[in-house]
Each structure stands twice: as structure tokens, then as C-alpha cells.
Amino acid sequence: MTVAPSGTAAGVAPRQQPRDLAPVSLVDLLDRLLGTGVVLAGDVVVTLAGVDLVEIRLHLLITSVRAEMERERERERERGRQG
């Protein structure tokens, strides 16, 4: 089955879509998919809409990174004491 796209049927040349798209990093995706990628409210997640979700998410990540750094510093202090 072939269906002519209606844009071309009307004789209007559609604008060229980019042929190649580059990968997006996780943090850039989170920025966009949780923060601003809002198009359509679904049935379920309406109450989760909004920026606060990103903030929760990022806050959580930062907390875990910070904990990691604390442990690293602790280890360094340990080494300092022994040396």
C-alpha cells in the first residue's frame, strides 16, 4: 500500500528534514525530556508535569555524587593519617 503524503499531493514541496542527527547526552536529554519536552498530557502523568520533577531528579543525582566525593575525601584523609 502506498499513500502519497498530503503535503506533496498539494504541490507544496515539504522542507527538508535533517538527514543525520547526532546523539544527545543523558543530562541534555533529562533537561529536555523532563523539563521542556511537554507536548501532550497523557492520562496518567498529568500530576507529574512541571519542572519540579527535574529538580528532584537532579537533586538526587547531585546528592549521590556529593556522597561519593565525601567518601573519596575520607579515604584521602585516611591515607594522609597513615602516611
Partner: protein, 255 residues
């Protein structure tokens, strides 16, 4: 096994999408993709277990990086495949409808706004430009040079702080000028919140995190101009990425 309750997960809404563009691409949990049509529009969807994606499930899962990362990646892969083939409005993560009828009802309800959003992004891609200042001057002060006195210490601290302030002002000014110029070259632009360096992996202070919607035929000129500006300002780091699907530009007007 078959009585697990499923819902429809929405990835994107496209206009005049050739279904062949999605050949070889699977949805979340390896489920097949499907299209739900309404006039020229098609929503790209797949089945997901409702328990994982209902409000309670999401609340829990979004806090779990081991769940979030592959979900975000798959969402992005589907949108990439669609966006090279047709004008595409990416949907935010975890847009769930109960069934195809509910999806169709959304397409009908939002038809005009979706068509306008697709008009905006057709033939365009998103570029990310970030501007970062060099690592802070205060950190460059050698730790092994102790102040001779308390007054000396305070003087140094004040000098470092005022140097920092003027550096920050200059960086913000540069960010504003850069953004203004790039905005002129783009079909649209948006500023996003600066990212935490621990998440972005980029050094220095992010003073600009901007997204630009650029027409395909202008992409080379846009990229070249960003690189020129970067070369003109060795005191800052310019991070340019793209082209991407128009993630930051497909939202509906919300009033």
C-alpha cells in the same frame, strides 16, 4: 501471563510519517512500535506495563537511575528515527494513555496546536550551545602561601572576590552577546537552566545553556559561526552540539 495490564506509551507525534522509517526500531522493553493516526498526524506508541508507568510506579522509577537511563535512551532512539523522516514533535518522558482511543482523542483535541508546533520545527533541527567560564580564579591561588596576618588574609580574600565578580560580569555579558547573535541566525531559541558541572562533566561555570532551532539549510553556517565566536573568545569554553531532534521547540502553547 497475558493478563498483565498494559497502557500506550507515546514517544512523538509526526506529520506524514512513512512507517518504514521505524523499521528495525523497537520501543521500551523491546515491544513493537505502532502508529495511531488522526488525519495527517501519527502518534508513535508502544505497549508498556501499566504498573511500571502509573503514577505510583513512575514516582518510584524516576528516582532509579538504572530504570531512568535506558528508558530515556529508548525514548530518544525512537524520536531520532522519526525526526530524520518527518516533522516530529517529541513528547516528554512518560506520556501514557490507556489505549489507542485515548491517544486518538488527544490528537483530535490538540490537532491545531500540534500542527502549529510541527510547522515550527519542520525542516529544522535543534543545536545546543553552552558557554562556560574558565575554572575560578580563587581556586588558582596557591594553597601553600599562608597569609602573614589576619588583615593580609582578609585583603587577599577581598581581592579574589572582586576579581571573581568582574570575571562573572564579563562572562554573563559575553553569554548575552553570543546568545543575541545566535538567536538572529536561528528560527527560534530557548535558554535552559545552567547544568551542574557534576552532571554535565564540563569544567567551569556554565553561564549559557541555550537551544537553537536551525533550518537544515542554515546548519553549516550556524555551526561555523559558533566556532568562530569560540575562537574569538579563548577566555571561555564554547560547547556546541547537534543537530538534534527539536526537543526544546515542539511544545504546545500552554495558557
Amino acid at each position: 501471563m497475558t493478563d498483565e495490564q498494559t497502557a500506550r506509551y507515546l514517544y512523538a507525534v509526526c506529520r506524514d510519517l512513512d512507517p518504514a522509517a521505524l523499521d528495525g526500531v523497537t520501543g521500551l522493553r523491546g515491544r513493537p512500535l505502532a502508529l495511531v493516526h488522526h488525519q495527517q498526524l501519527a502518534a508513535v506508541v508502544s505497549d508498556v506495563p501499566l504498573a511500571e508507568f502509573d503514577e505510583e510506579g513512575l514516582r518510584h522509577n524516576l528516582e532509579d537511575l538504572a530504570w531512568l537511563e535506558p528508558t530515556v535512551r529508548t525514548h530518544d532512539e525512537v524520536i531520532h528515527a522519526a525526526a530524520v523522516a518527518a516533522p516530529t514533535a517529541p513528547l516528554r518522558l512518560a506520556t501514557i494513555c490507556y489505549d489507542d482511543d485515548a491517544v486518538r482523542a488527544r490528537l483530535r483535541e490538540w490537532y491545531v496546536a500540534l500542527m502549529q508546533a510541527l510547522d515550527r520545527v519542520e525542516g529544522c533541527a535543534e543545536w545546543s550551545v553552552k558557554l562556560l567560564t574558565a575554572p575560578r580564579a580563587a581556586e588558582a591561588v596557591p594553597a601553600g602561601a599562608p597569609a602573614a596576618s589576619g588583615a593580609e588574609y582578609l585583603r587577599r580574600k577581598k581581592a579574589a572576590a572582586s576579581q571573581q565578580t568582574s570575571q562573572d560580569d564579563a562572562a554573563l555579558e559575553l553569554a548575552a552577546r553570543l546568545h543575541e547573535e545566535l538567536h538572529e541566525l536561528a528560527a527560534a531559541s530557548r535558554q535552559l537552566a545552567p547544568q551542574d558541572p557534576r552532571l554535565s562533566g564540563l569544567r567551569g561555570t556554565m553561564v549559557l545553556n541555550a537551544a537553537y532551532l536551525v533550518r537544515t539549510e542554515d546548519a553549516d553556517a550556524f555551526a561555523a559561526r559558533v566556532d568562530e565566536l569560540a575562537a574569538d573568545h579563548p577566555e571561555a569554553v564554547v560547547d556546541r552540539r547537534g543537530p538534534w531532534p527539536p526537543y526544546s521547540f515542539a511544545m504546545l502553547e500552554q495558557r
